[in-house]
C-alpha cells in the first residue's frame, strides 16, 4: 500500500514539475529547438536576455510591483485580521466572506473588470494599476496567514499589556506586532511571490509597463526561442524561493506552538 501511495506521489509531482524541469534543462541547451538528445551546454540564452533592455525594464517593473504589492497587501491583511480578532460586530461573517472573495473569482473576469474600471477612472496602463490589481488579489492570502497566527494568541496577552500600563497603540507595537512577526514576514514573501508570478491580470492592465511574465508571453508570440526557458527558470527560481521561505516561517512557528 505504501509503495503504491509513494508511486502515486512521485507521479503527481512528476506531472506538476516535469514541464518546469524540462524547460530549465532546455534553457542550457545550445540547440534552438527543444529536441532530444540535447546538443550541448550553453549560457547563450541567458546572455541574450541579460543583453535585452526589454528584459531589464520588465524585471524592474516586476520587482516594483511585487515589492509594493506585498507591503500594501500585508498591511491591509493585518488590519482585517486584527479587526476580525479584536472586534465582533453585526455582519462580520459577511465582511469576512467579501474579503476572502477575490481568489475565488476567475482571473480573467477580475482582469477584464479591472481593465474596464481603470480605463474609466483614467488609471490604465500604469504601474500603479498593476499594483492595485495585485493588492486586491493577494490581500486575502495575507489576511489568512495573519489570522491563523492571531488565532493562536492567548487572549489575555493584549489585556496584560494594558494592565501593565501600555496604551492601545503601545500594546499593538509591543505585543500584537511582535507576536505576529513570523506571519507578517511569511505574508510578505508569499504575496510578493504571487504578484511576481501573476500573468493574466498583469497582461490586461499593464499596457506598456510590462512585467516579466507578460514579457515572456510576448517572446513566445514572436519567436520560438529558448530565451523563454531562461526567463522562465529565473522567474520560477525567484517565486519558489519566496514561497519556500514563507512556508518555512509558518511551519517552524506552528511546530514551536505545538511543542
Amino acid at each position: 500500500m505504501t509503495i503504491f501511495l509513494r508511486a502515486y506521489l512521485v507521479l503527481i509531482f512528476g506531472f506538476v514539475f516535469l514541464p518546469i524541469i524540462v524547460s530549465m534543462l532546455f534553457s542550457f541547451n545550445s540547440d534552438r529547438f527543444p529536441t532530444l538528445p540535447m546538443s550541448g551546454f550553453t549560457l547563450e540564452w541567458y546572455q541574450t536576455i541579460f543583453a535585452d533592455p526589454d528584459f531589464w525594464r520588465s524585471a524592474k517593473n516586476s520587482l516594483i510591483v511585487a515589492g509594493s504589492t506585498c507591503i500594501i497587501a500585508t498591511f491591509l491583511g493585518f488590519c482585517t485580521a486584527y479587526t476580525d480578532y479584536r472586534y465582533s460586530f453585526r455582519g462580520k461573517s459577511l465582511f469576512l466572506a467579501i474579503i476572502l472573495l477575490p481568489p475565488t473569482i476567475p482571473l480573467i473576469i477580475i482582469a477584464l473588470a479591472m481593465l474596464a474600471w481603470f480605463s474609466r477612472v483614467g488609471m490604465s496602463g500604469q504601474i500603479v494599476s498593476i499594483i492595485a490589481a495585485h493588492t486586491v488579489l493577494t490581500a486575502p492570502f495575507a489576511m489568512a496567514i495573519i489570522r491563523l497566527r492571531l488565532s493562536q494568541i492567548d487572549e489575555s496577552l493584549e489585556a496584560a499589556a494594558w494592565n501593565l500600563g501600555a496604551s492601545e497603540w503601545r500594546a499593538m507595537q509591543e505585543v500584537i506586532l511582535p507576536f505576529c512577526k513570523p506571519a507578517i514576514l511569511s505574508s510578505l514573501f508569499l504575496t510578493a511571490a504571487v504578484s511576481f508570478d501573476e500573468f493574466t491580470v498583469a497582461w490586461f492592465v499593464s499596457g506598456l509597463n510590462k512585467t516579466l511574465p507578460v514579457h515572456v508571453l510576448e517572446i513566445v508570440q514572436g519567436t520560438i526561442d529558448p530565451q523563454v526557458n531562461a526567463i522562465g527558470t529565473l522567474v520560477f527560481g525567484i517565486s519558489i524561493t519566496l514561497v519556500v521561505i514563507s512556508q518555512l516561517l509558518i511551519f517552524f512557528r506552528l511546530q514551536r506552538a505545538a511543542s
Partner: protein, 355 residues
C-alpha cells in the same frame, strides 16, 4: 483611621441581559489578603476585571484609594494582575517580561534591568533571566508572572486563579510563597479562586459569591463555622444541613423540628420560622449526644489523616462525618453499618432560611 484601599459601592455589571455582578458592596483595607471565591460564573473574575479597569461597571462606583475609578482606563491604573493563563509575552525572555511594566512607564533601560533582576532574584529565578519564557517550567513561569506584576511596586495586586494550572504539590509551595510575599510587602492582594483550600489557606477574609451576588464576607473561620446562607453552607466544607421549622425558643436555645426529629441549637429565632441546623462534618460525633440520629454508612473517602464517612439517614438525607483516620478502627464506621451520630447544641449552627 486610614481609609480603605478599595471600595465597591453598589456595583453592578451587566452584559446585555446577563447580570454578572449585582449590588456588590465590599470594602478592602490596605494590606489585606482577600480571596473572592465561588463556582464558575459567579462573577468573581468580572469583579476582578472591574478592579483592573478591563470591564467598566454598569452602575455603582469603584473607588481605589478614595478616587472614583469607573472611567479610568486599564493602562492608567496601577493594578497589575497575575493571569490565570499567566499571559507571559512569549517573544520576550523572562527579564524582558518583568521589565515590561517599567518600560511602559518610561523607566530608563539601566534602571529597568536592575529592578527586574532584583525581582527575579527575590523570586529565586535570576538564573533564568535570559531564558525564553516558553522553555521554563510551570513554577518558574509563575514566578516570572509574579515578578512582572510586582516590579512596579503597586499597592494592590490582583490574582486571577494563578495556581489553577499547577500540580498539587506546587500549589502548596506557591501558596506559602504568596502569603510570605504579601506579608513582607504589606500590599493588598485580591485573589480570585474556585478553590476553597487556596482561599482558606491564604486569605485574611474571604468573599463568597454566587450567581453575581456577594453571599458572605468574613474570615475563613467565620465563613466556615457560621455560614449565613444555605449556598455558603453547601459550598464551604463538609456541612450537614437539616432543614425544618422552629418549634420553640427559650434562653438562647432553639428547637427545630426536622424530618429526622427535633434538634436543639444555640441561637434565637421566632417560633414557626423556617430554619436549618448546620452541623459541620467534624462536629458530628459517632455515638449519642445532646442531639442524636441514626444513619447507615454508605462510603468512605480517605484523604490522609482525615476520613470522611458518607451516611444516609432513614429518609435518605445524606450526612457526612469527618474523623481522624487513626480513630477509625474503634468507631464501627464500616460500610453497611448503622450507627448513632450525636452533637451538642453549641456545635450546631442555626441558619435562617432566606425569604
Amino acid at each position: 483611621m486610614t481609609q480603605p484601599l478599595v471600595v465597591l459601592d453598589q456595583v453592578e455589571k451587566r452584559f446585555d441581559d446577563f447580570v454578572a455582578v449585582r449590588d456588590a458592596n465590599l470594602t478592602i483595607n490596605e494590606g489585606e489578603f482577600i480571596a473572592i471565591m465561588g463556582p464558575s460564573g459567579c462573577g468573581k473574575t468580572t469583579t476582578l476585571r472591574m478592579l483592573a479597569g478591563l470591564d467598566a461597571p454598569t452602575s455603582g462606583e469603584i473607588r481605589i484609594a478614595g478616587e472614583v475609578m469607573n472611567d479610568v482606563p486599564a493602562d492608567k491604573r496601577d493594578t497589575p494582575m497575575v493571569w490565570q493563563s499567566l499571559a507571559l509575552f512569549p517573544f520576550l525572555n523572562a527579564r524582558e517580561n518583568v521589565e515590561f511594566g517599567l518600560k511602559m512607564r518610561g523607566v530608563a533601560a539601566d534602571e529597568r534591568r536592575t529592578r527586574a533582576m532584583n525581582w527575579l532574584d527575590r523570586m529565586e529565578i535570576a538564573e533564568f533571566a535570559e531564558r525564553n519564557v516558553e522553555t521554563l517550567s510551570g513554577g518558574q513561569r509563575q514566578r516570572v508572572a509574579l515578578a512582572r506584576a510586582l516590579v512596579t511596586e503597586p499597592k494592590l495586586l490582583l490574582l486571577d486563579e494563578p495556581l489553577s494550572a499547577l500540580d498539587a504539590h506546587l500549589v502548596i509551595r506557591m501558596q506559602s510563597v504568596l502569603t510570605k510575599l504579601q506579608r513582607e510587602l504589606g500590599i493588598t492582594f485580591v485573589y480570585v479562586t474556585h478553590s476553597q483550600s487556596e482561599a482558606f489557606a491564604m486569605a485574611d477574609r474571604v468573599v463568597i459569591m454566587s450567581k453575581g451576588d456577594i453571599a458572605q464576607v468574613g474570615t475563613p473561620r467565620e465563613v466556615y463555622r457560621a455560614p449565613k446562607t444555605r449556598f455558603v453552607a453547601e459550598f464551604v466544607g463538609r456541612n450537614n444541613i437539616l432543614p425544618g421549622t422552629v418549634t420553640s425558643a427559650s434562653k438562647g436555645v432553639v428547637t427545630v423540628e426536622t424530618a429526622l426529629g427535633a434538634f436543639t441549637v444555640k441561637g434565637d429565632a421566632p417560633k414557626g420560622a423556617q430554619a436549618s441546623i448546620v452541623v459541620a462534618g467534624d462536629m458530628m460525633q459517632v455515638g449519642a449526644g445532646e442531639n442524636s440520629l441514626t444513619a447507615t454508612v454508605i462510603s468512605e473517602e480517605f484523604v490522609g489523616s482525615m476520613v470522611t464517612a458518607f451516611l444516609e439517614a432513614e429518609d435518605g438525607t445524606e450526612l457526612k462525618v469527618q474523623v481522624q483516620e487513626r480513630a477509625l478502627a474503634d468507631l464501627n464506621l464500616e460500610t453497611g453499618n448503622t450507627v448513632t451520630l450525636g452533637w451538642t447544641a453549641s456545635d450546631g449552627h442555626l441558619l435562617m432560611e432566606e425569604t
